[in-house]
C-alpha cells in the first residue's frame, strides 16, 4: 500500500446522477413517441408532436445520458489510472452545472422547433457553442490529469479517452458550421451532396466516438476490475485500437448508398465498413477469452453477464452493420424499420449495458459502500435484455417486410404490387410490440435507478452513523 490519494469524486457523482436522470426522461419520451406511431391522435401540437419529441429523445440520450456518463466514468477512470486526483476539480463542478443547464435548454429549444435539420446535429448555434465549451473543459481536465499522472504507463482506456476527445471535437465543429440569421435560426454552411456527405461522416463517427470508443474504454477498464480477471491479450487490444480509429472515419458514406453521391465514395465506404469487422471482433474475442478463463464468473459475479452480453451485442452490431452496407442488402433494409432495430440493439444492448455495469461498480466505489441489491440488479439485467430483444427483433422482421413490399412488382403486368399505405397497415402490430419492448426496458431502467439511489442512501446513513 502506497500513500492514500485524495481522489475527487464529486464531479463523478454529479455527472453519473445527472446522466441517469436525462436517460430516464429521454427513454420515457421514446416510449411515448413509439405509441404515437400507432396512435397518431396522441400528437399534441405544436410541442408534443412526433417530429419534435423524436429529436428530444435522440439528443437527450446522446448528449444527456451517454455524454453525461462518459464524463462521469472518464473522470473516475482517469483518476484511478493516473493514480492521482483530478486536475481542476472546481472547473469540473462548473462544467457539471453548465451541462445540466445546457441539456435542459436544448430540450426546450427542440420542443420549440429550433432545429438545424441535420440528424444528431439539430441544436442551434448558441447551444453548439455551449457544447464546444463543455467539451473543451472535458479535454482540459482529462489531458491535464494525464500529463500530471503518477503512473508512467498509460492503460488502453486512456488511449480511447484521448481519441474520443480529439475526434468528437473535429467532427462536431465541422458539421455544425452554420450561417446564423438570428439567435434561434441558422442554415448549414454546406449544401446538397456535400452537406449529406459531411453529415454522415459526422453521424457515423458520433457512433464511433460516443457509442464505441468511450464504451470500449469502460469495457477494458471495468471488466477486469469487476471480475478480477486480467484482459486476455494486451497485444490484441493494441491492434484493435489503432485499426478501429483509423478505419471508422472512412465509413460514413455507407449511410448514402444509392444516393447521388459519387459511386467511388459509396464503394470505398462499403469496403472499409466490411473491414471494420476485424477491429470490432478483436475486442469481442478479447472479452470472451478474458472471461473464458473462468466462465463460472457469469453466475458468481453479477456484473460479468452485463459485460459479456454487452460485448456480444457489440459483436452482433458490428456484423449487422457491414451486412447492411452491401448494396444488395441495403436496397431492401434502407429507409425501413430495420434501421431503428439495428440502432437500438447497439444503444440498448451495448452502450446502456456497459454504462450501467460500470456504474454498478463506480457508485459503490465512490460512496465507499456495496451495492444495495444484487437481486434488483439481476432483475434490471433481464428486463433490459428482454425489452431490447423484443424491440430489435420485431423491427428487423418489420423492416424486411416493408422492404420487400416496397420492391414487389407483379409478374402479371409489371406494376407495383403494394401501395405505400398497405406497408403502413402491416406495420401496426409490430409497432405495438415494439412499445411493449420499450416499456420493459424503461421499467428495467427504473429498477436500476432505484437500486443506485438506495445504494447512495445506505452509504449516507453509514456515514451519519460513523460521524455520531
Amino acid at each position: 500500500m502506497g500513500e492514500a490519494v485524495a481522489y475527487e469524486w464529486k464531479p463523478v457523482k454529479g455527472f453519473a446522477l445527472s446522466g441517469i436522470f436525462w436517460g430516464l426522461v429521454s427513454v420515457l419520451i421514446g416510449l411515448f413517441i413509439s405509441v404515437q406511431l400507432w396512435k397518431p391522435e396522441l400528437n399534441i401540437p405544436p410541442y408534443l408532436t412526433y417530429g419534435r419529441l423524436r429529436t428530444v429523445h435522440v439528443n437527450g440520450l446522446v448528449f444527456g445520458f451517454a455524454i453525461g456518463e462518459i464524463f462521469a466514468l472518464s473522470y473516475y477512470m482517469v483518476q484511478r489510472l493516473t493514480k492521482r486526483a483530478l486536475m481542476f476539480p472546481k472547473l469540473a463542478m462548473v462544467q457539471l452545472y453548465i451541462f445540466n443547464v445546457a441539456i435542459a435548454a436544448a430540450a426546450v429549444s427542440l420542443l420549440a422547433g429550433m432545429n438545424r435539420g441535420k440528424e444528431f446535429a439539430e441544436l442551434e448555434w448558441p447551444l453548439n457553442i455551449g457544447v464546444v465549451i463543455l467539451w473543451v473543459m472535458f479535454a482540459v481536465i482529462v489531458v491535464a490529469t494525464i500529463l500530471k499522472r503518477k503512473e508512467e504507463q498509460m492503460y488502453i482506456s486512456l488511449w480511447f479517452m484521448l481519441s474520443t476527445v480529439v475526434a468528437v471535437a473535429v467532427l462536431y465543429i465541422v458539421n455544425h458550421l452554420s450561417i446564423p440569421v438570428s439567435l434561434t435560426k441558422s442554415y448549414s454552411l454546406f449544401s446538397g451532396g456535400n452537406d449529406a456527405n459531411i453529415e454522415w461522416w459526422y453521424g457515423h463517427n458520433a457512433v464511433a466516438f460516443i457509442f464505441t470508443t468511450p464504451i470500449l474504454g469502460m469495457f477494458y477498464y471495468f471488466l477486469p476490475k469487476a471480475t478480477g480477471m486480467p484482459i486476455y491479450s494486451h497485444r490484441l487490444s493494441i491492434v484493435a485500437f489503432w485499426s478501429l480509429i483509423f478505419a471508422y472515419l472512412w465509413t460514413g458514406a455507407h449511410h448514402l448508398i444509392y444516393s447521388p453521391l459519387p459511386d467511388w465514395i459509396q464503394t470505398v465506404a462499403i469496403a472499409f465498413t466490411v473491414f471494420m469487422i476485424a477491429p470490432s471482433w478483436a475486442s469481442v474475442f478479447n472479452g470472451y477469452y478474458t472471461v473464458g478463463a473462468d466462465w463460472s464468473k457469469m453466475k458468481s459475479n453479477y456484473l460479468t453477464k452485463f459485460f459479456i452480453l454487452g460485448i456480444t451485442f457489440y459483436g452482433l452490431q458490428t456484423l449487422q452493420g457491414p451486412l447492411q452496407g452491401f448494396r444488395v442488402v441495403n436496397q431492401i433494409v434502407h429507409f425501413t424499420d430495420w434501421v431503428p432495430g439495428h440502432v437500438h440493439m447497439g444503444t440498448m444492448g451495448w452502450v446502456a449495458m456497459i454504462i450501467s455495469a460500470s456504474l454498478y461498480y463506480v457508485i459503490p466505489s465512490v460512496y465507499n459502500t456495496t451495492v444495495y441489491s444484487e437481486k434488483l440488479a439481476n432483475l434490471h439485467f433481464w428486463l433490459v435484455l428482454v425489452g431490447q430483444m423484443i424491440f430489435s427483433v420485431s423491427m428487423w422482421i418489420l423492416g424486411i417486410q416493408q422492404g420487400v413490399m416496397w420492391k414487389a412488382i407483379s409478374p402479371e403486368d409489371g406494376s407495383l404490387t403494394y401501395t405505400f399505405m398497405e406497408s403502413v397497415l402491416v406495420s401496426y402490430p409490430y409497432w405495438q410490440v415494439r412499445t411493449v419492448g420499450g416499456l420493459l426496458f424503461f421499467i428495467g431502467l427504473c429498477v436500476f435507478a432505484y437500486n443506485l439511489v438506495m445504494t447512495i442512501k445506505n452509504a449516507n446513513k453509514a456515514v451519519a452513523v460513523e460521524g455520531r
Binding site: L37, M114, S191
Partner: protein
C-alpha cells in the same frame, strides 16, 4: 521508448490517424465538382418556399419523409425519376432523410392539387384510412415572420423582391409548407410515358364480378382519398353521376383508362371536354389489369 508513456506524442498520432480517412472521404470531395454539380433548370427557393422549408425542418418532417429516390426500378415506378446530384445545390441543409415512415417526397411537387394538400394536412385519416401522419391543420394559425425571412433570403443569397417579402405577411405556415412541397422535384423533367393501351381499346374486364371486387379494393386504398369512399366526390369529382369532366354524357373506356393511367393537366382535352387538372397518374403504380378493374368498378357504380 513506448508511445504509451508519452501522452502528447500519442495524441498527435491519434489525430493523424483520424485525419487520414477524414481528408480522403470528407475534405477532398468537398472541393471536387462531381459531388455538387448544379442543374441548369434548378431555381433557388422563393421567400415563401424557403419559409415552407423552414416549417418542414422545424416540425421534423424529414424524420419520416425522405427526399431521395434511389435508382431502383420499383422506387422509380413508385416515386418518379431518381434523384440527381445537380438538384440539391440550394439545399442548406440537405433533406434526403434516413427513414420512410411516410412516402418519399422528392417528386411530390405538382402531383396533387393545393386543395388536396390542405385537406390532407388538416385531416390525413380522412384521405387515407389507417394513416399515422399527425394532423398539421394548426399550422394555418401560425404566421410567418417576414423580417426573419428577408434575413434568411439575404443570408443564403437567394433573389427576392420587396413584394415577395410583403406577401409573406398574409401567409400562414401551412400555406408556406404546401408551397414548398409543390416545388419539390420540379427541376427534373417528367419523362413521357409509353401508353399502356391503344386508342379505342375496350375494357376486357367489363362486368367481370372478380374484377369489380379487385377494382373496389384498389379504389378504396387509393382513389377514395379524393373521390370519397362512396365515389360521390370530394377533392375530385363525383364518379357515380353521368357527368364526366364536368360535362354530361358518357365517356369511352379507353379515355377513362388514360385519365387514370396518365392523370390530367389543366385544359387538357378528352372527348371535347376540358380537364381542370389535378388528377395524379397511376399507370406505373397500378398496371393495366388493375386500371381496367377500377374502370369496371366505376362502371358498376354508374349503372346503380
Amino acid at each position: 521508448m513506448s508511445i504509451y508513456k508519452k501522452p502528447i506524442v500519442l495524441t498527435v498520432l491519434i489525430t493523424v490517424v483520424i485525419l487520414i480517412g477524414t481528408v480522403v472521404m470528407m475534405v477532398f470531395p468537398l472541393f471536387s465538382s462531381e459531388t455538387q454539380p448544379k442543374m441548369a433548370s434548378l431555381k433557388p427557393y422563393t421567400a415563401l418556399q424557403l419559409a415552407g422549408r423552414d416549417v418542414y425542418i422545424e416540425n421534423g418532417c424529414y424524420y419520416c419523409h425522405s427526399q431521395m429516390i434511389r435508382p431502383l426500378k420499383a422506387e422509380v415506378m413508385r416515386y418518379g425519376e431518381y434523384s440527381k446530384a445537380g438538384e440539391f445545390a440550394y439545399d442548406q441543409p440537405f433533406l434526403w432523410g434516413s427513414k420512410r415512415k411516410g412516402p418519399d417526397l422528392a417528386r411530390i411537387g405538382g402531383k396533387y392539387s393545393d386543395k388536396w394538400h390542405y385537406k390532407h394536412m388538416t385531416d390525413p385519416r380522412k384521405l387515407f384510412q389507417g394513416s399515422n401522419m399527425p394532423a398539421y391543420g394548426w399550422l394555418a394559425e401560425q404566421t410567418i415572420n417576414a423580417k426573419d425571412m428577408e434575413n434568411s433570403m439575404k443570408a443564403l443569397g437567394f433573389p427576392y423582391t420587396k413584394d415577395d417579402i410583403e406577401a409573406l405577411k398574409d401567409k400562414s405556415k401551412l400555406d408556406a409548407v404546401i408551397a414548398y412541397l409543390q416545388c419539390l422535384g420540379t427541376s427534373v423533367d417528367k419523362k413521357p410515358k409509353q401508353p399502356l393501351i391503344a386508342a379505342g381499346d375496350k375494357n376486357p374486364l367489363l362486368a367481370d364480378a372478380k374484377a369489380i371486387e379487385e377494382g373496389k379494393k384498389v379504389y378504396e386504398m387509393n382513389c377514395a382519398a379524393c373521390h370519397g369512399i362512396d365515389a360521390k366526390g370530394d377533392v375530385g369529382p363525383d364518379l357515380t353521376d353521368n357527368e364526366w369532366l364536368y360535362v354530361p354524357g358518357p365517356i369511352q373506356d379507353d379515355t377513362l383508362f388514360s385519365i387514370i393511367a396518365d392523370g390530367t393537366k389543366k385544359d387538357q382535352e378528352f372527348e371535347h371536354r376540358k380537364a381542370k387538372g389535378g388528377m395524379p397518374s397511376w399507370g406505373e403504380f397500378f398496371g393495366k389489369k388493375k386500371i381496367w378493374s377500377v374502370v369496371s368498378y366505376i362502371r358498376s357504380l354508374e349503372s346503380k
